[in-house]
């Protein structure tokens, strides 16, 4: 059981190291998905949210890490 837990922990660690960054990326993807559904004839809005949101999330996360 402990071994299995360790494997799952390692697998999750492939994608999540800083939980806040992972959550922010997922929030940006969800927001972009909502806009893609709301404005299907203007997909550029969803694309812009996705691109700028991810860049902003990374920038903000780095700034927080530097302050710690």
């Amino acid at each position: 059981m402990t071994g299995l837990k360790a494997v799952f922990r390692e697998l999750a660690g492939l994608f999540v190291e800083d939980g806040a960054l992972a959550l922010e990326i997922i929030a940006v993807v969800i927001l972009a998905g909502v806009f893609a559904r709301l404005l299907p004839d203007r997909p550029a809005v969803a694309g812009g949210i996705l691109l700028l949101g991810c860049l902003a999330a990374l920038g903000a996360n780095l700034a927080r890490a530097a302050r710690r």
Partner: protein, 251 residues
Amino acid sequence: MTGSLAHIGPAMTAAFLGSAVEAVEALTIVLAVATVRGWRPAGLGALCGLVLLALIVVVLGPLLNLVPLHLLQFAIGVLLLLFGMRWLRKAILRAAGIIPLRDEGRAFTRETAELREQARRHEARLDWLAALTSFKAVLLEGLEVVFIVIAVSAAGGLLIPASIGALAACLLVAAAGVVVHRPLARVPENTLKFAVGVMLSAFGMFWTGEGLGVAWPGADLAIVAFAALFLALGLGAAALLRRPSPEEALP
């Protein structure tokens, strides 16, 4: 669209560089095991790890064909964003001096010391423990290689070029390890990680958007533009956040 140069080049390069980083890390641990307990348990553990990885690819590979392309693009895109931005964040923080650079020499010394400590406590079971250490290193680092290869290739039908890139990197690192018999401490690991983080984040952005129905301007060439944006952000952030190293801080 599938197989265009804008996809093949970055996919092959990302698979090569990402696999090189992981192979160097796995090699350090396998070499530590070989130094303490000899090549037999080290080689056996590594071989078992490789066999299990091959099984995972053989079982999971065909299953991906059953997933609708749109869903596959979206799922892989999100995973690539998480994986790529994790690497990029770490590489930027290391380049800025906020977290220490990975030192293969130090990792080798630590792993060797741990194995010697285990030898002191469990002499009779040590070959088994040594093989397990080697197996775990190859399996865990190899899983990242498998993910990178599948992720950069599956949504665009580029499994062969991505696999060639990954295999070339693993063979190159293994050959270098056999020749020098030491951890490859001079490989610029953080630079490689930085480059792979940029590429995987760009792929992730592209596939996530495609999965959401976004028609990116320039189609496949958007990947190059995304890579340029992530690179600019990464280099800018590393320069802005840079802290002096302990040597530089001395008067």
